[in-house]
Protein backbone atom coordinates (compact mmCIF):
# COMPACT_ATOMS: atom_id res chain seq x y z
CA UNK A 1 0.00 0.00 0.00
CA UNK A 2 2.87 2.34 0.73
CA UNK A 3 3.75 2.57 -2.94
CA UNK A 4 0.27 3.63 -3.89
CA UNK A 5 0.22 6.61 -1.58
CA UNK A 6 2.68 8.62 -3.58
CA UNK A 7 1.80 8.19 -7.21
CA UNK A 8 -1.20 9.54 -8.95
CA UNK A 9 0.85 9.50 -12.13
CA UNK A 10 0.68 5.74 -12.43
CA UNK A 11 -3.12 5.88 -12.39
CA UNK A 12 -3.39 4.75 -8.81
CA UNK A 13 -5.54 6.87 -6.58
CA UNK A 14 -3.78 8.98 -4.05
CA UNK A 15 -4.37 7.68 -0.55
CA UNK A 16 -4.41 9.52 2.75
CA UNK A 17 -4.34 8.27 6.30
CA UNK A 18 -6.54 9.74 9.01
CA UNK A 19 -5.61 9.03 12.59
CA UNK A 20 -8.24 9.28 15.31
CA UNK A 21 -7.60 10.52 18.85
CA UNK A 22 -7.64 6.86 19.97
CA UNK A 23 -4.73 6.15 17.62
CA UNK A 24 -6.65 4.17 14.99
CA UNK A 25 -5.67 4.79 11.40
CA UNK A 26 -7.98 4.89 8.40
CA UNK A 27 -6.71 4.87 4.86
CA UNK A 28 -8.91 6.65 2.34
CA UNK A 29 -8.78 8.00 -1.17
CA UNK A 30 -7.95 11.65 -1.34
CA UNK A 31 -11.05 12.38 -3.43
CA UNK A 32 -13.27 11.26 -0.54
CA UNK A 33 -11.44 13.13 2.17
CA UNK A 34 -11.27 16.51 0.48
CA UNK A 35 -14.96 17.10 1.25
CA UNK A 36 -13.53 18.13 4.54
CA UNK A 37 -12.09 21.63 4.21
CA UNK A 38 -9.70 21.32 7.13
CA UNK A 39 -8.10 18.19 5.70
CA UNK A 40 -8.13 19.61 2.20
CA UNK A 41 -5.93 22.45 3.37
CA UNK A 42 -3.56 20.00 5.02
CA UNK A 43 -3.36 17.92 1.86
CA UNK A 44 -2.52 21.06 -0.07
CA UNK A 45 0.26 21.64 2.42
CA UNK A 46 1.64 18.20 1.59
CA UNK A 47 0.45 16.12 4.55
CA UNK A 48 -0.56 12.52 3.91
CA UNK A 49 -0.92 11.34 7.51
CA UNK A 50 -3.47 13.45 9.24
CA UNK A 51 -3.85 13.25 13.00
CA UNK A 52 -7.29 14.24 14.25
CA UNK A 53 -6.80 14.83 17.94
CA UNK A 54 -10.32 16.01 18.56
CA UNK A 55 -12.12 13.14 16.86
CA UNK A 56 -12.39 9.70 18.44
CA UNK A 57 -12.60 6.45 16.48
CA UNK A 58 -16.35 6.07 16.92
CA UNK A 59 -17.08 9.53 15.58
CA UNK A 60 -14.50 9.25 12.83
CA UNK A 61 -16.03 5.98 11.61
CA UNK A 62 -19.37 7.73 11.27
CA UNK A 63 -17.85 10.68 9.48
CA UNK A 64 -16.03 8.41 7.03
CA UNK A 65 -19.31 6.60 6.34
CA UNK A 66 -20.88 9.95 5.53
CA UNK A 67 -18.00 11.14 3.33
CA UNK A 68 -17.82 7.87 1.40
CA UNK A 69 -21.49 8.02 0.54
CA UNK A 70 -21.37 11.67 -0.41
CA UNK A 71 -18.35 11.13 -2.63
CA UNK A 72 -20.61 8.96 -4.77
CA UNK A 73 -23.06 11.82 -5.26
CA UNK A 74 -24.15 12.32 -8.86
CA UNK A 75 -27.13 13.87 -10.60
CA UNK A 76 -28.98 10.55 -10.70
CA UNK A 77 -28.75 9.30 -7.11
CA UNK A 78 -30.14 12.33 -5.32
CA UNK A 79 -32.97 10.32 -3.83
CA UNK A 80 -30.57 7.69 -2.57
CA UNK A 81 -28.40 10.31 -0.85
CA UNK A 82 -31.49 11.85 0.68
CA UNK A 83 -32.50 8.54 2.18
CA UNK A 84 -28.98 7.93 3.34
CA UNK A 85 -28.97 11.30 5.11
CA UNK A 86 -32.23 10.48 6.82
CA UNK A 87 -30.99 7.16 8.06
CA UNK A 88 -27.64 8.64 9.02
CA UNK A 89 -29.25 11.21 11.27
CA UNK A 90 -31.52 8.63 12.82
CA UNK A 91 -28.68 6.19 13.37
CA UNK A 92 -26.38 8.71 14.97
CA UNK A 93 -28.79 10.16 17.46
CA UNK A 94 -26.70 9.24 20.48
CA UNK A 95 -23.52 10.71 19.06
CA UNK A 96 -25.03 13.75 17.42
CA UNK A 97 -23.20 16.30 19.54
CA UNK A 98 -19.81 14.61 19.12
CA UNK A 99 -20.54 14.51 15.40
CA UNK A 100 -21.59 18.11 15.21
CA UNK A 101 -18.46 19.24 17.06
CA UNK A 102 -16.30 17.15 14.74
CA UNK A 103 -18.08 18.36 11.60
CA UNK A 104 -17.67 21.93 12.76
CA UNK A 105 -14.00 21.45 13.47
CA UNK A 106 -13.30 19.56 10.26
CA UNK A 107 -15.40 22.01 8.23
CA UNK A 108 -17.56 19.46 6.47
CA UNK A 109 -20.28 21.88 5.45
CA UNK A 110 -22.82 19.37 4.18
CA UNK A 111 -22.65 17.26 7.32
CA UNK A 112 -22.74 20.32 9.56
CA UNK A 113 -25.84 21.52 7.82
CA UNK A 114 -27.52 18.13 8.03
CA UNK A 115 -26.87 17.74 11.75
CA UNK A 116 -27.74 21.30 12.69
CA UNK A 117 -30.99 21.10 10.76
CA UNK A 118 -31.90 17.86 12.51
CA UNK A 119 -31.26 19.46 15.91
CA UNK A 120 -33.07 22.64 14.88
CA UNK A 121 -36.08 20.53 13.88
CA UNK A 122 -36.28 19.37 17.46
CA UNK A 123 -36.36 22.94 18.76
CA UNK A 124 -38.78 24.40 16.23
CA UNK A 125 -42.22 25.03 17.65
CA UNK A 126 -41.55 22.81 20.67
CA UNK A 127 -42.67 23.80 24.13
CA UNK A 128 -39.96 24.82 26.58
CA UNK A 129 -40.68 21.72 28.62
CA UNK A 130 -40.26 19.49 25.59
CA UNK A 131 -36.93 21.06 24.57
CA UNK A 132 -35.58 20.70 28.09
CA UNK A 133 -36.64 17.08 28.11
CA UNK A 134 -35.30 16.22 24.63
CA UNK A 135 -31.86 17.66 25.29
CA UNK A 136 -31.64 17.02 29.05
CA UNK A 137 -31.26 20.68 29.82
CA UNK A 138 -31.68 21.34 33.50
CA UNK A 139 -33.32 24.55 34.46
CA UNK A 140 -31.09 26.53 36.79
CA UNK A 141 -33.32 29.59 37.06
CA UNK A 142 -35.13 30.28 40.29
CA UNK A 143 -38.89 30.56 39.70
CA UNK A 144 -38.60 34.34 40.04
CA UNK A 145 -35.78 34.57 37.53
CA UNK A 146 -37.59 32.35 35.10
CA UNK A 147 -40.69 34.50 35.34
CA UNK A 148 -38.58 37.58 34.61
CA UNK A 149 -36.99 36.07 31.53
CA UNK A 150 -40.36 34.89 30.30
CA UNK A 151 -41.70 38.38 30.77
CA UNK A 152 -38.87 39.92 28.77
CA UNK A 153 -39.56 37.65 25.86
CA UNK A 154 -43.29 37.63 26.22
CA UNK A 155 -43.91 37.89 22.50
CA UNK A 156 -42.02 34.66 21.90
CA UNK A 157 -44.15 32.73 24.35
CA UNK A 158 -47.45 34.11 23.16
CA UNK A 159 -49.79 32.75 20.61
CA UNK A 160 -50.23 29.33 19.17
CA UNK A 161 -49.89 25.90 20.62
CA UNK A 162 -46.43 24.54 21.16
CA UNK A 163 -45.55 20.97 20.39
CA UNK A 164 -45.16 18.92 23.56
CA UNK A 165 -44.00 15.72 21.85
CA UNK A 166 -40.49 14.47 22.52
CA UNK A 167 -39.40 13.34 19.08
Amino acid sequence: MASSSSSSKTGLKKMLTLKSSDGDEFELEESIVIQCQTIKHMVEDGFSLIPLQNVDTKTLTKIIEYMKKHAEKTESNKEEIKNFNKEFVKGSFDDQFELVSAANYLHINGLMDLLCQSIADRINNKSVRAVREIFNISNDYTPDEEEKVRDEHKWAHEGGEFDESLD
Binding site: F97, I119, N124, S138, V149, E152
Partner: protein, 418 residues
Protein backbone atom coordinates in the same frame (compact mmCIF):
# COMPACT_ATOMS: atom_id res chain seq x y z
CA UNK B 1 -2.57 20.50 16.97
CA UNK B 2 -5.89 22.07 16.21
CA UNK B 3 -7.64 21.90 19.50
CA UNK B 4 -10.81 23.90 19.54
CA UNK B 5 -10.18 26.79 21.86
CA UNK B 6 -11.83 26.38 25.19
CA UNK B 7 -15.04 28.28 25.25
CA UNK B 8 -14.83 30.88 27.99
CA UNK B 9 -18.53 30.53 28.59
CA UNK B 10 -18.54 26.78 28.89
CA UNK B 11 -19.92 25.51 32.09
CA UNK B 12 -19.96 22.27 34.02
CA UNK B 13 -21.77 19.46 32.32
CA UNK B 14 -24.98 18.76 34.14
CA UNK B 15 -25.80 15.17 34.82
CA UNK B 16 -29.23 14.36 36.04
CA UNK B 17 -30.43 10.94 37.01
CA UNK B 18 -33.75 9.62 35.96
CA UNK B 19 -35.36 6.29 36.38
CA UNK B 20 -36.32 4.50 33.26
CA UNK B 21 -37.80 1.02 33.39
CA UNK B 22 -36.54 0.51 36.91
CA UNK B 23 -32.97 1.44 35.95
CA UNK B 24 -31.23 4.61 36.99
CA UNK B 25 -29.81 6.31 33.91
CA UNK B 26 -27.43 9.22 34.01
CA UNK B 27 -28.56 11.87 31.58
CA UNK B 28 -26.05 14.33 30.32
CA UNK B 29 -26.82 17.82 29.10
CA UNK B 30 -24.51 17.75 26.10
CA UNK B 31 -26.10 20.45 23.98
CA UNK B 32 -25.57 23.21 26.56
CA UNK B 33 -21.92 22.35 26.76
CA UNK B 34 -21.27 22.95 23.06
CA UNK B 35 -19.46 26.15 22.13
CA UNK B 36 -21.77 29.09 21.57
CA UNK B 37 -20.94 29.32 17.88
CA UNK B 38 -22.24 25.79 17.34
CA UNK B 39 -25.40 26.43 19.35
CA UNK B 40 -25.87 29.55 17.22
CA UNK B 41 -25.81 27.30 14.16
CA UNK B 42 -28.86 25.47 15.51
CA UNK B 43 -30.68 28.66 16.39
CA UNK B 44 -30.04 30.16 12.96
CA UNK B 45 -32.07 27.30 11.57
CA UNK B 46 -35.13 27.72 13.75
CA UNK B 47 -37.82 30.36 13.54
CA UNK B 48 -36.94 33.58 15.37
CA UNK B 49 -39.72 33.10 17.82
CA UNK B 50 -38.49 29.64 18.71
CA UNK B 51 -34.93 30.92 18.98
CA UNK B 52 -36.02 33.67 21.36
CA UNK B 53 -37.91 31.16 23.46
CA UNK B 54 -34.70 29.22 24.16
CA UNK B 55 -33.66 32.08 26.45
CA UNK B 56 -35.78 30.50 29.13
CA UNK B 57 -34.21 27.02 28.96
CA UNK B 58 -31.44 27.82 31.41
CA UNK B 59 -29.03 30.61 32.33
CA UNK B 60 -26.56 29.36 29.75
CA UNK B 61 -29.12 29.92 27.02
CA UNK B 62 -30.39 33.29 28.15
CA UNK B 63 -28.28 35.45 25.86
CA UNK B 64 -27.26 33.04 23.11
CA UNK B 65 -30.10 33.79 20.74
CA UNK B 66 -29.63 37.52 21.10
CA UNK B 67 -26.03 37.18 19.97
CA UNK B 68 -26.87 35.56 16.65
CA UNK B 69 -25.15 37.32 13.77
CA UNK B 70 -28.30 37.63 11.69
CA UNK B 71 -31.73 37.47 13.10
CA UNK B 72 -34.59 37.34 10.67
CA UNK B 73 -38.11 37.68 11.82
CA UNK B 74 -41.05 36.84 9.70
CA UNK B 75 -43.51 39.55 8.93
CA UNK B 76 -45.70 39.27 11.98
CA UNK B 77 -42.88 39.30 14.45
CA UNK B 78 -40.20 41.82 15.27
CA UNK B 79 -38.20 42.13 12.09
CA UNK B 80 -34.70 42.71 13.08
CA UNK B 81 -31.50 42.22 11.30
CA UNK B 82 -28.39 43.96 12.24
CA UNK B 83 -27.16 46.07 9.37
CA UNK B 84 -30.46 46.39 7.67
CA UNK B 85 -32.53 45.48 10.65
CA UNK B 86 -36.23 45.97 10.18
CA UNK B 87 -38.60 46.30 13.03
CA UNK B 88 -42.33 46.32 12.99
CA UNK B 89 -43.53 48.80 15.53
CA UNK B 90 -44.80 46.80 18.36
CA UNK B 91 -43.91 47.67 21.86
CA UNK B 92 -42.51 44.31 22.88
CA UNK B 93 -40.35 43.96 19.77
CA UNK B 94 -39.02 47.44 20.00
CA UNK B 95 -38.17 46.91 23.63
CA UNK B 96 -36.25 43.84 22.69
CA UNK B 97 -34.12 45.64 20.11
CA UNK B 98 -33.49 48.45 22.55
CA UNK B 99 -32.51 46.02 25.21
CA UNK B 100 -30.09 44.44 22.82
CA UNK B 101 -28.49 47.79 22.01
CA UNK B 102 -28.29 48.56 25.71
CA UNK B 103 -26.38 45.33 26.29
CA UNK B 104 -23.82 46.49 23.76
CA UNK B 105 -23.62 49.91 25.39
CA UNK B 106 -23.30 48.49 28.91
CA UNK B 107 -20.40 46.43 27.65
CA UNK B 108 -18.61 49.61 26.66
CA UNK B 109 -18.54 49.27 22.91
CA UNK B 110 -16.08 51.47 21.10
CA UNK B 111 -17.68 51.24 17.69
CA UNK B 112 -21.38 51.02 17.16
CA UNK B 113 -23.20 50.71 13.84
CA UNK B 114 -26.94 50.88 14.07
CA UNK B 115 -29.17 50.36 11.08
CA UNK B 116 -32.72 49.77 12.12
CA UNK B 117 -35.61 50.06 9.76
CA UNK B 118 -39.23 49.86 10.61
CA UNK B 119 -41.56 48.44 8.03
CA UNK B 120 -43.82 51.39 8.55
CA UNK B 121 -42.11 54.43 7.10
CA UNK B 122 -44.30 56.78 9.09
CA UNK B 123 -43.01 55.46 12.37
CA UNK B 124 -39.24 55.20 12.34
CA UNK B 125 -37.26 53.54 15.06
CA UNK B 126 -36.74 56.05 17.83
CA UNK B 127 -33.21 56.00 19.00
CA UNK B 128 -33.75 58.55 21.72
CA UNK B 129 -36.10 56.75 24.04
CA UNK B 130 -35.31 53.67 26.05
CA UNK B 131 -31.66 53.54 25.06
CA UNK B 132 -29.06 54.78 27.46
CA UNK B 133 -25.97 56.01 25.66
CA UNK B 134 -24.67 57.51 28.90
CA UNK B 135 -23.21 54.19 30.04
CA UNK B 136 -20.62 54.27 27.30
CA UNK B 137 -20.13 58.02 27.05
CA UNK B 138 -16.47 57.67 27.92
CA UNK B 139 -15.72 54.81 25.55
CA UNK B 140 -17.71 55.14 22.33
CA UNK B 141 -15.43 56.42 19.58
CA UNK B 142 -17.25 55.62 16.35
CA UNK B 143 -21.01 55.82 15.92
CA UNK B 144 -22.90 55.19 12.75
CA UNK B 145 -26.65 55.56 12.60
CA UNK B 146 -28.83 54.57 9.70
CA UNK B 147 -32.58 54.85 9.15
CA UNK B 148 -33.42 55.75 12.77
CA UNK B 149 -35.14 58.78 14.21
CA UNK B 150 -33.13 61.08 16.41
CA UNK B 151 -33.88 64.10 18.55
CA UNK B 152 -31.76 67.15 19.32
CA UNK B 153 -30.67 65.91 22.72
CA UNK B 154 -30.31 62.22 21.91
CA UNK B 155 -26.65 61.99 22.71
CA UNK B 156 -23.94 63.25 24.97
CA UNK B 157 -20.82 61.43 23.89
CA UNK B 158 -17.71 63.40 24.83
CA UNK B 159 -15.29 60.75 23.56
CA UNK B 160 -16.81 60.29 20.12
CA UNK B 161 -14.46 61.02 17.20
CA UNK B 162 -16.40 59.80 14.15
CA UNK B 163 -20.07 60.16 13.40
CA UNK B 164 -21.84 58.82 10.34
CA UNK B 165 -25.49 59.68 9.74
CA UNK B 166 -27.31 58.03 6.89
CA UNK B 167 -30.95 58.51 6.00
CA UNK B 168 -31.74 59.85 9.42
CA UNK B 169 -35.16 61.07 10.43
CA UNK B 170 -35.59 63.80 12.97
CA UNK B 171 -38.27 64.89 15.40
CA UNK B 172 -40.19 68.07 14.61
CA UNK B 173 -38.25 70.47 16.79
CA UNK B 174 -34.88 69.08 15.77
CA UNK B 175 -32.01 71.54 15.87
CA UNK B 176 -28.83 70.31 14.27
CA UNK B 177 -26.58 72.52 16.38
CA UNK B 178 -28.01 71.14 19.62
CA UNK B 179 -27.65 67.61 18.35
CA UNK B 180 -24.05 68.01 17.22
CA UNK B 181 -23.14 69.73 20.49
CA UNK B 182 -23.47 66.30 22.08
CA UNK B 183 -20.23 65.31 20.35
CA UNK B 184 -17.78 67.99 21.48
CA UNK B 185 -14.64 66.18 20.33
CA UNK B 186 -15.83 64.98 16.97
CA UNK B 187 -13.21 64.97 14.21
CA UNK B 188 -15.00 63.24 11.36
CA UNK B 189 -18.59 63.85 10.32
CA UNK B 190 -20.37 62.24 7.39
CA UNK B 191 -23.97 63.16 6.64
CA UNK B 192 -25.85 61.41 3.85
CA UNK B 193 -29.52 61.72 2.93
CA UNK B 194 -30.61 64.10 5.59
CA UNK B 195 -34.25 65.14 5.57
CA UNK B 196 -35.50 67.86 3.29
CA UNK B 197 -36.71 70.15 6.02
CA UNK B 198 -33.31 70.61 7.57
CA UNK B 199 -32.50 74.28 7.07
CA UNK B 200 -29.29 74.89 8.89
CA UNK B 201 -26.39 72.57 9.37
CA UNK B 202 -24.43 74.21 12.11
CA UNK B 203 -21.29 72.42 13.21
CA UNK B 204 -19.78 74.33 16.12
CA UNK B 205 -17.35 71.55 17.08
CA UNK B 206 -13.83 72.92 17.34
CA UNK B 207 -11.93 69.77 16.35
CA UNK B 208 -13.76 68.85 13.17
CA UNK B 209 -11.23 67.76 10.61
CA UNK B 210 -13.23 65.97 7.95
CA UNK B 211 -16.72 66.83 6.77
CA UNK B 212 -18.59 64.97 4.07
CA UNK B 213 -22.13 66.03 3.17
CA UNK B 214 -23.92 64.03 0.50
CA UNK B 215 -27.37 63.90 -1.04
CA UNK B 216 -28.71 66.27 1.50
CA UNK B 217 -31.82 68.23 0.80
CA UNK B 218 -30.52 71.09 2.81
CA UNK B 219 -31.31 74.27 0.96
CA UNK B 220 -30.31 76.54 3.73
CA UNK B 221 -27.11 77.37 5.42
CA UNK B 222 -24.09 75.35 6.29
CA UNK B 223 -21.98 76.72 9.06
CA UNK B 224 -18.74 75.18 10.27
CA UNK B 225 -16.84 76.64 13.17
CA UNK B 226 -13.92 74.28 13.42
CA UNK B 227 -10.39 75.63 13.42
CA UNK B 228 -8.87 72.33 12.41
CA UNK B 229 -10.88 71.62 9.30
CA UNK B 230 -8.74 69.96 6.65
CA UNK B 231 -11.04 68.12 4.29
CA UNK B 232 -14.40 69.01 2.81
CA UNK B 233 -16.44 66.78 0.53
CA UNK B 234 -19.78 67.86 -0.88
CA UNK B 235 -21.67 65.52 -3.17
CA UNK B 236 -25.03 65.87 -4.82
CA UNK B 237 -25.76 68.84 -2.74
CA UNK B 238 -28.16 71.58 -3.59
CA UNK B 239 -26.49 74.26 -1.64
CA UNK B 240 -25.80 77.59 -3.08
CA UNK B 241 -22.13 77.87 -2.56
CA UNK B 242 -21.80 81.56 -2.09
CA UNK B 243 -20.55 83.44 0.88
CA UNK B 244 -23.83 83.83 2.59
CA UNK B 245 -24.92 80.21 2.55
CA UNK B 246 -21.59 78.73 3.47
CA UNK B 247 -20.06 80.02 6.63
CA UNK B 248 -16.75 78.49 7.42
CA UNK B 249 -14.92 80.11 10.27
CA UNK B 250 -11.48 78.96 9.37
CA UNK B 251 -10.93 78.39 5.66
CA UNK B 252 -7.14 78.64 5.68
CA UNK B 253 -6.70 75.18 7.24
CA UNK B 254 -8.57 73.39 4.47
CA UNK B 255 -6.26 71.32 2.31
CA UNK B 256 -8.66 69.03 0.49
CA UNK B 257 -11.83 70.09 -1.27
CA UNK B 258 -14.09 67.86 -3.33
CA UNK B 259 -17.21 69.14 -5.05
CA UNK B 260 -19.19 66.45 -6.75
CA UNK B 261 -22.37 67.25 -8.63
CA UNK B 262 -22.98 70.36 -6.65
CA UNK B 263 -25.37 72.88 -8.07
CA UNK B 264 -23.70 76.23 -8.20
CA UNK B 265 -24.92 79.69 -8.86
CA UNK B 266 -23.37 82.03 -11.34
CA UNK B 267 -19.87 83.11 -10.35
CA UNK B 268 -20.10 81.44 -6.98
CA UNK B 269 -17.95 78.44 -7.81
CA UNK B 270 -15.02 80.73 -8.34
CA UNK B 271 -15.43 82.67 -5.18
CA UNK B 272 -16.08 79.51 -3.22
CA UNK B 273 -12.89 77.80 -4.33
CA UNK B 274 -10.84 80.88 -3.78
CA UNK B 275 -11.94 81.10 -0.19
CA UNK B 276 -9.58 78.28 0.58
CA UNK B 277 -6.18 79.80 -0.12
CA UNK B 278 -4.06 76.87 1.04
CA UNK B 279 -5.76 74.07 -0.87
CA UNK B 280 -3.52 71.17 -1.82
CA UNK B 281 -6.06 68.89 -3.48
CA UNK B 282 -9.02 70.09 -5.47
CA UNK B 283 -11.59 67.88 -7.17
CA UNK B 284 -14.48 69.33 -9.16
CA UNK B 285 -16.63 66.61 -10.58
CA UNK B 286 -19.71 67.20 -12.71
CA UNK B 287 -20.93 70.39 -11.10
CA UNK B 288 -23.80 72.19 -12.76
CA UNK B 289 -24.98 75.71 -12.89
CA UNK B 290 -28.44 76.24 -11.57
CA UNK B 291 -29.74 78.51 -14.34
CA UNK B 292 -32.59 77.85 -16.72
CA UNK B 293 -32.04 78.92 -20.27
CA UNK B 294 -34.80 79.94 -22.64
CA UNK B 295 -35.86 76.51 -23.74
CA UNK B 296 -36.40 75.35 -20.20
CA UNK B 297 -33.17 73.38 -20.20
CA UNK B 298 -30.45 73.84 -17.72
CA UNK B 299 -27.62 75.92 -18.96
CA UNK B 300 -24.90 73.67 -17.74
CA UNK B 301 -21.95 75.59 -18.94
CA UNK B 302 -19.93 76.75 -16.02
CA UNK B 303 -18.46 80.22 -16.03
CA UNK B 304 -14.73 80.67 -16.39
CA UNK B 305 -12.74 79.47 -13.44
CA UNK B 306 -9.81 81.10 -11.86
CA UNK B 307 -7.78 78.70 -9.78
CA UNK B 308 -5.05 80.49 -7.91
CA UNK B 309 -3.59 78.45 -5.10
CA UNK B 310 0.06 78.50 -4.30
CA UNK B 311 0.03 75.12 -2.54
CA UNK B 312 -2.19 73.29 -4.97
CA UNK B 313 -0.55 70.00 -5.84
CA UNK B 314 -3.39 68.02 -7.34
CA UNK B 315 -6.27 69.26 -9.46
CA UNK B 316 -8.94 67.01 -10.90
CA UNK B 317 -11.63 68.50 -13.11
CA UNK B 318 -14.31 66.26 -14.53
CA UNK B 319 -16.96 67.87 -16.66
CA UNK B 320 -20.08 65.90 -17.40
CA UNK B 321 -21.20 65.06 -20.92
CA UNK B 322 -23.34 68.15 -21.19
CA UNK B 323 -21.40 70.85 -19.53
CA UNK B 324 -18.27 72.72 -20.34
CA UNK B 325 -16.09 75.55 -19.22
CA UNK B 326 -14.51 77.88 -21.74
CA UNK B 327 -11.52 78.94 -19.79
CA UNK B 328 -9.75 77.96 -16.62
CA UNK B 329 -6.97 80.22 -15.55
CA UNK B 330 -4.57 78.24 -13.46
CA UNK B 331 -2.06 79.88 -11.25
CA UNK B 332 -0.54 77.06 -9.24
CA UNK B 333 3.25 77.03 -9.15
CA UNK B 334 3.36 73.81 -7.13
CA UNK B 335 0.91 71.81 -9.20
CA UNK B 336 2.20 68.27 -9.58
CA UNK B 337 -0.78 66.40 -10.91
CA UNK B 338 -3.52 67.49 -13.28
CA UNK B 339 -6.41 65.40 -14.48
CA UNK B 340 -9.03 66.63 -16.90
CA UNK B 341 -12.18 65.16 -18.44
CA UNK B 342 -14.03 67.33 -20.88
CA UNK B 343 -13.99 69.45 -24.00
CA UNK B 344 -11.52 71.95 -25.34
CA UNK B 345 -11.24 74.18 -22.33
CA UNK B 346 -8.29 76.47 -22.51
CA UNK B 347 -5.94 76.56 -19.57
CA UNK B 348 -4.02 79.80 -19.63
CA UNK B 349 -1.30 79.80 -17.04
CA UNK B 350 -0.82 76.11 -16.72
CA UNK B 351 2.51 76.31 -18.56
CA UNK B 352 3.88 78.16 -15.53
CA UNK B 353 3.32 75.13 -13.34
CA UNK B 354 6.88 73.96 -13.66
CA UNK B 355 6.54 71.08 -11.27
CA UNK B 356 3.81 69.33 -13.18
CA UNK B 357 4.82 65.68 -13.17
CA UNK B 358 1.64 63.82 -13.85
CA UNK B 359 -0.97 64.58 -16.45
CA UNK B 360 -4.06 62.71 -17.48
CA UNK B 361 -6.40 63.99 -20.18
CA UNK B 362 -9.65 62.29 -21.09
CA UNK B 363 -11.05 63.51 -24.38
CA UNK B 364 -14.09 62.59 -26.38
CA UNK B 365 -13.22 62.99 -30.06
CA UNK B 366 -16.92 63.08 -30.99
CA UNK B 367 -17.56 66.32 -29.20
CA UNK B 368 -14.32 68.04 -30.08
CA UNK B 369 -14.45 70.85 -32.58
CA UNK B 370 -12.09 71.58 -35.42
CA UNK B 371 -9.62 73.36 -33.21
CA UNK B 372 -8.66 70.24 -31.41
CA UNK B 373 -5.21 69.98 -32.96
CA UNK B 374 -4.07 73.42 -31.85
CA UNK B 375 -5.64 72.87 -28.47
CA UNK B 376 -3.86 69.58 -27.97
CA UNK B 377 -0.55 70.96 -29.15
CA UNK B 378 -0.79 73.83 -26.71
CA UNK B 379 -1.69 71.70 -23.80
CA UNK B 380 0.98 69.15 -24.52
CA UNK B 381 3.51 71.94 -24.41
CA UNK B 382 2.45 72.67 -20.86
CA UNK B 383 3.32 69.13 -19.96
CA UNK B 384 6.83 69.40 -21.33
CA UNK B 385 8.34 68.78 -17.92
CA UNK B 386 6.06 65.89 -17.03
CA UNK B 387 7.31 62.44 -16.29
CA UNK B 388 4.00 60.80 -16.95
CA UNK B 389 1.38 61.88 -19.44
CA UNK B 390 -1.67 59.91 -20.22
CA UNK B 391 -4.07 60.77 -23.04
CA UNK B 392 -7.29 58.84 -23.15
CA UNK B 393 -9.66 59.19 -26.08
CA UNK B 394 -12.95 57.47 -25.92
CA UNK B 395 -14.98 57.36 -29.06
CA UNK B 396 -18.58 57.54 -28.01
CA UNK B 397 -20.91 56.31 -30.72
CA UNK B 398 -24.50 55.79 -29.86
CA UNK B 399 -25.05 54.09 -26.53
CA UNK B 400 -25.53 50.56 -27.78
CA UNK B 401 -22.31 50.56 -29.64
CA UNK B 402 -20.41 52.01 -26.77
CA UNK B 403 -21.39 49.17 -24.55
CA UNK B 404 -20.50 46.49 -27.03
CA UNK B 405 -17.39 47.97 -28.46
CA UNK B 406 -15.89 49.96 -25.66
CA UNK B 407 -12.80 47.84 -25.49
CA UNK B 408 -12.06 48.35 -29.16
CA UNK B 409 -12.72 52.05 -29.43
CA UNK B 410 -11.00 53.00 -26.24
CA UNK B 411 -7.49 53.89 -27.04
CA UNK B 412 -5.00 54.89 -24.50
CA UNK B 413 -1.76 56.54 -25.27
CA UNK B 414 0.85 56.95 -22.68
CA UNK B 415 3.88 58.95 -23.48
CA UNK B 416 6.90 59.43 -21.40
CA UNK B 417 8.21 62.77 -22.32
CA UNK B 418 11.74 63.67 -21.38
Amino acid sequence: MWKTPKDPNSHKITITETTEGGQVIARVDRISNLPIDIISQFLLRVLPKDAARTSILSKRWQRIWASLPDIYFDNDEVGMLFFGMSVIKRSSCELLVKKWINIALENKVKTLHLAIKTLNYEEPFRLFSGISFSSCSATLVVLSIKDCEISSDSFMLPSLRSLFLYNIMTVDDFIFADFIAGFPRIEELIVEYFPEELDIILVPNPNLNFLNVQYTGCSGKLQIESRKLESLVFSYLRVEVDNYEFEITCTSTVKNLTLQNVLVLERTLNSFINRFPLLENLVIDGCRRDVFSVGGFYDNNLPSLFVSHKNLAKFVLKLGTFNSIDKIVIHAPNLKSFEYYGRLTSFPGIWASRRLKFGKLHLRPKVLNANWYIWLRNILESFAQSKHLCLICRNEQDDVEVISARAKTETQTEANIQ
